[in-house]
């Protein structure tokens, strides 16, 4: 378990972390999610001991680690750009931490083989990092970090430098790996999809603070503020409210609480259809409906429809904002 209390960090005039506290439960896979400059990497590096906080404390498994150098924290760290030891073979890379700990040769060899099997690099032990693809290098880096049986595994944008396809594969693979090797893991990412797909818990960071912590679904459904809502998925602004495009409904006829809108574009995304509309006030927003619904309504651009944040026929209709046209906008 990792607990961070009251950590602040300043780089010159820039306040990277502002009194941040966070608990990472034992065995969990937690994401630090936020835009660049939100402080997520700095927080991870402070947990690792690669940066020193100006204030606050870091406790791992009940031991205060605040003044302890990285080398004695028993952590595993994976860097965005792999940080592979270029002059060492894959085997030597993975064995590095064990050699430093002066483990017997036979034990090191067995452990390295086991780990290379786990990360799917058996047969690559004599290659050099320059002979591996990006995805393979990152898996090697993960094996290297796991070799020393760290108390916590810290991943700093581990898939950030990879192609979209490799990224998606490695994401799923990391999730499975975590089930096999359930070490407390923190992953820094700016990709909400990545965070939602693989983690149990997400801490959303914004301007050096933690905006909200919780399971992905809770954050998605009950965001603490507009920032969290906007960061975790596409949103449409309806009056003063932010809603998910798939929480909006379209009807051909007017009904209570619905706003008149003109369709500007119908985008087919496979099973779903994104309908882009412009309200009478001039603001545009997006509505996401199923293909079936779109076909039933025979939507075409130029059509006049009615948009409301609840199911047609449902109760508790939301009245439009008093005082004329709602100021609507879309941010996806």
């Amino acid at each position: 378990m990792i607990s961070v209390t009251g950590v602040s960090k300043r780089f010159g005039d820039f306040l990277a972390l502002d009194d941040v506290s966070l608990e990472v439960p034992e065995g969990s896979l937690t994401a630090l999610l936020g835009p660049s400059g939100s402080g997520k990497s700095t927080l991870l590096r402070i947990v690792a001991g690669l940066e020193t906080p100006d204030a606050g404390a870091v406790v791992i498994d009940g031991n205060d680690q605040t003044g302890v150098p990285a080398q004695r924290r028993e952590i595993g760290f994976v860097f965005q750009h792999y940080a592979a030891f270029k002059h060492m073979s894959v085997r030597e890379n993975v064995a590095f931490g064990l050699k430093i700990r002066k483990r017997p040769k036979a034990e090191i060899a067995a452990r390295v083989d086991e780990l290379l099997g786990i990360v799917g690099l058996s047969g690559y032990q004599d290659r050099y990092p320059s002979q591996l693809s990006g995805g393979q290098r990152q898996r090697m880096a993960l094996a290297r970090a796991l070799a020393v049986e760290p108390r916590v595994l810290l991943l700093d944008e581990p898939f950030g430098a990879l192609d979209a396809n490799v990224r998606a594969d490695l994401r799923r693979w990391l999730r499975r790996l975590h089930e096999e090797v359930p070490v407390t893991t923190v992953i820094v990412t700016h990709d909400q999809e990545e965070a939602m797909e693989i983690t149990d818990r997400i801490a959303v960071m914004h301007d050096g603070r933690i905006a909200q912590v919780g399971p992905p679904r809770e954050l998605y459904e009950q965001p603490a503020d507009d920032f969290v809502m906007g960061f975790l998925g596409p949103v449409s602004r309806l009056g003063r409210r932010l809603v998910r495009p798939h929480d909006l409904y379209i009807t051909a006829d007017p009904r209570d609480g619905a706003l008149e809108a003109m369709i500007t574009r119908v985008v087919h995304l496979g099973f779903e259809v994104r309908v882009e509309v412009v309200l009478s006030g001039g603001a545009s927003l997006a509505v996401q409906i199923t293909r079936g619904e779109a076909e039933a309504l025979e939507l075409r651009s130029g059509d006049i429809v009615w948009v409301a944040p609840d199911r047609p026929g449902g109760s508790e209709l939301v009245a439009p904002r008093p005082g004329g046209a709602p100021d609507a906008s879309v941010s996806v």
Binding site: A48, G49, L50, P69, A70, Q71, R72, R73, E74, I75, G76, F77, F79, H81, A83, A84, F85, K86, H87, M88, F96, G97, I100, R101, Y128, S130, Q131, A141, R144, A145, V148
Partner: protein, 268 residues
């Protein structure tokens, strides 16, 4: 395609002609003239007591200057690349000073400091230490002129390597010394090796600064380059050629060593 090829051919011819006129012909001529009187003559000429002593002195001075400048050079490069302190730019600039200053000025400045009438001269003389007109002066002059090579070769490599590998080593439990020995040093080894080769070549070939502080005492403070000059001035042209040939062979040996130690591709 063919015009491109002929242009390339022309450029190559010009480059080779230029190198030939400036380098190959003179060096070849030295070797030719050296061996004209016969191998036995050459051998006799480079095995006189004075020549052997000159060779030994040159080697000793090189063995002092190069390791010292290698260790200090790597340290200085680390400080320049990784350090955060005031005056870093000044240090960076000062490292290049031996390149900028004429060797003869370096020699003279050493005399001003360590000579009999210099700042430390009388104190050192009282302690029974003679620096100028003795081998320590030659060593100092050589250290000074070869100072920048290792630093200048290592700094760009260190910059390019970055600090992530070192941070990774630290998170894996390596101490700062282990990190340096197992990660940093192997990462910069080609830069260090290149710097060592250049320092060695310069240490063996240095003439100006050494000439000023040596005093030219045959069999005592005469290095190989000074021996060449002395023989040449005494109209012993064949002897000068022979000693020059020895210098050229050593230089070629260092160049060969450099080519051999160049990194293999898969490790680069």
């Amino acid at each position: 395609m063919s015009s491109e090829r002929s242009a390339r051919l022309g450029l190559r011819t010009i480059a080779l002609a230029y190198l030939g006129a400036l380098l190959f012909v003179p060096v070849g001529l030295v070797l030719y003239r050296t061996f004209q009187p016969g191998i036995a003559e050459v051998w006799a000429s480079i095995t006189t007591p004075a020549a052997i002593h000159a060779f030994q002195l040159t080697m000793m001075v090189t063995l002092i200057a190069v390791p010292l400048n290698t260790v200090l050079g790597v340290l200085a490069a680390l400080v320049i690349v990784r350090g955060r302190f005031r005056g870093k730019a000044l240090l960076d600039m000062l490292i290049d000073l031996p390149f900028a200053i004429s060797p003869i000025v370096i020699g003279l400045s050493l005399i001003f400091v360590y000579g009999q009438t210099g700042w430390f001269g009388s104190a050192l003389a009282d302690a029974g230490v003679q620096i100028i007109f003795s081998w320590p002066g030659i060593a100092l002059a050589t250290i000074f002129v070869t100072l920048p090579f290792v630093v200048r070769e290592v700094v760009p490599v260190l910059r390019e390597v970055g600090t992530e590998q070192e941070q990774a080593a630290a998170t894996l439990g390596a101490s700062p010394w282990q990190t340096f020995g197992r990660v940093t040093l192997p990462a910069i080894r080609w830069g260090v090796a290149y710097g060592v080769v250049l320092s060695t070549a310069r240490a063996i070939g240095e003439f100006g600064a050494v000439s000023v502080v040596s005093g030219h005492i045959a069999g005592q403070t005469e290095t190989l380059t000074l021996l060449v000059e002395q023989r040449f001035q005494n109209f012993n042209v064949a002897g000068a050629y022979a000693a020059s040939a020895l210098l050229a062979v050593i230089a070629l040996g260092t160049l060969l060593a450099m080519t051999l130690i160049k990194p293999r591709k898969e490790h680069a």
